[in-house]
């Protein structure tokens, strides 16, 4: 019975209070509310059965910030520094050498491949439990270089409200991120209310073995899946097995996810968060080294996608400090 009261309470609250208080009263908010009412009102031509109310969200730049670099890259850099004494060869080997010298930009020059190399070197060999413990410890203590906040407090308050609003309307909310699936799972349930089985992300392979009588899952130094661009609809297919009716992203890495979602039959919603707020967050799009948004801005409006201007559509960005 534990589940009943929060659900009932959420329903009552949503009937009497604004479920999206951090969203300005703009066309954007109207479009979201109108879509949700349309697909959930029995008898509506666009009515969708609760089982098919699947909503997918990118994470970096969509649910939390991603500047000056992806937050998981900060974790990887900190792990490299921590593990360096056991890897004397890293002093000479790129991209590790640049990280150890504090030359972050140079370390990232190798792009995705360099980041993947560092992710595998720092993640592989750990059991799943060990990995989760290192991420948990890091999230509890690390601070963002600019805001000095814990990374988990750099999530977007309006998006937290949107997730809760969709769930109160019997949507299932999923993360579909280019970031590491197991990294995300450490905090997604507490921070976003999204359980581990509803997280889709990039992954390295894993193995199962019995060590001294104790079964463990071990992370292996082999790429399994990159959940970005064309990979996002594929990851959705493999993990969810059903086409979403709502998808939110913020970069061209999300283009195919929105394309896949909004080309299905019936009412569909595609949302792109446009980072337009240099004062409260960051302003970037076509020329950015992370979260580049170009094709989405060009083609999105003609495809019926809703472009959220952070500056104009949100009256607050981050949650109040606890």
């Amino acid at each position: 019975m534990k589940l009943l009261f929060p659900l009932a309470l959420a329903s009552v609250l949503s009937a009497v209070a604004d479920p999206l208080p951090s969203w300005q009263e703009t066309e954007t908010k109207k479009a979201i509310v109108s879509f949700v009412e349309n697909v959930t009102t029995p008898g509506s031509a666009d009515y969708v059965d609760p089982a098919a109310r699947i909503a997918t969200f990118d994470n970096d730049g969509c649910l939390w910030s991603e500047q000056p670099i992806y937050f998981q890259a900060f974790y990887i850099f900190d792990r490299i520094k921590e593990l360096a004494p056991r890897h004397p060869e890293w002093k000479e080997e790129e991209p590790f050498a640049s990280v150890l010298k504090g030359e972050v930009e140079k370390a990232l020059e190798g792009g995705e491949e360099a980041l993947l190399k560092m992710a595998m070197a720092t993640h592989a060999g750990l059991t799943d439990e060990e990995f989760r413990a290192t991420v948990g410890k890091w999230l509890a203590t690390a601070r963002h270089p600019k805001t000095k906040r814990p990374y988990t407090e750099m999530v977007f308050q309006p998006m937290l409200e949107l997730l809760a609003y969709l769930r109160a309307n019997e949507f299932k909310t999923f993360i579909v991120s280019g970031g590491g699936i197991d990294f995300l799972r450490v905090f997604a349930e507490d921070v976003y209310g999204i359980p581990p089985q509803q997280v889709v992300g990039s992954s390295i392979k894993a193995g199962y073995e019995v060590r001294d009588g104790k079964p463990v899952i071990v992370k292996l130094p082999e790429l399994d899946f990159i959940d970005d661009k064309e990979g996002k609809p594929v990851g959705i297919h493999q993990h969810i097995g059903r086409r979403p009716i709502f998808a939110a992203g913020n970069s061209d890495g999300d283009f195919q996810m929105l394309e896949w979602t909004t080309s299905g039959e019936g009412a569909r919603f595609g949302l792109l968060v446009h980072h337009t707020d240099a004062e409260r967050e960051w302003a970037y799009d076509r020329e950015s080294h992370v979260g580049r948004l170009d094709r989405g801005l060009k083609e999105g409006p003609d495809r019926g996608w809703t472009i959220v201007s952070m500056k104009d559509d949100w009256n607050r960005v981050y949650p109040a400090a606890p």
Copy 2:
């Protein structure tokens, strides 16, 4: 609000009626009910939060029959016959040639590798939608050679009740099968009440492309993952991201899933269906070519696993014909 009433109703019903009417009043049934009450009673030392109530079920031989061969193999054979006119080379090429001559045993001599070869040849190249349509059509018309029933009516009534009982107690039920994930998803929701995102299985790779302006998911002729033996805990890790507290299987292919599940801390339940009923279903274990159960029978009892004797623990096997 739609969700509230069925949930509440299920709770009331479970308090007044036997939720497992097809289970005999044996120690097996007592063990199941006692476990569920233990982990769901607030204040109990073994209480488990609903979010962590994960239950995983093998499919072939656990939720439905698997004799004389896996039902998906019948589908593959029928597809080979259907596609043969487009593949004249199959007349000479094994294992296809044997299938076309009706020599099933010879076609299966190559074991898992032969089956995989046939699965890829018949599944790959199709879009996800086309694949689902062929499976749906086959399930609607194909009949089992012995019982003459549709395959979806050869599911085990006691296991359907067990799935519903666990869900009424706020468990999330998952399939974790060596069978094809997309094959299972076609009927798992209707037949077992298990939605596509809660199905884990073996898979071939998939790609995303835009064909004549229409985005599609296409199945590719490349193995992605075999969800059997050590693969089951790995599949659980990748898809669910949380260790189950309840796992059910019937063969040594499920050994590692039960081992992984029951070696976690707190109350755990491992269940093996032992096919002991030659009259109502089939009787087989150590020497069987499908669903071989040997190590599980030897080590299961010492590991605290519950061995279900189909003959003695179930008062009915299949649902009544509709």
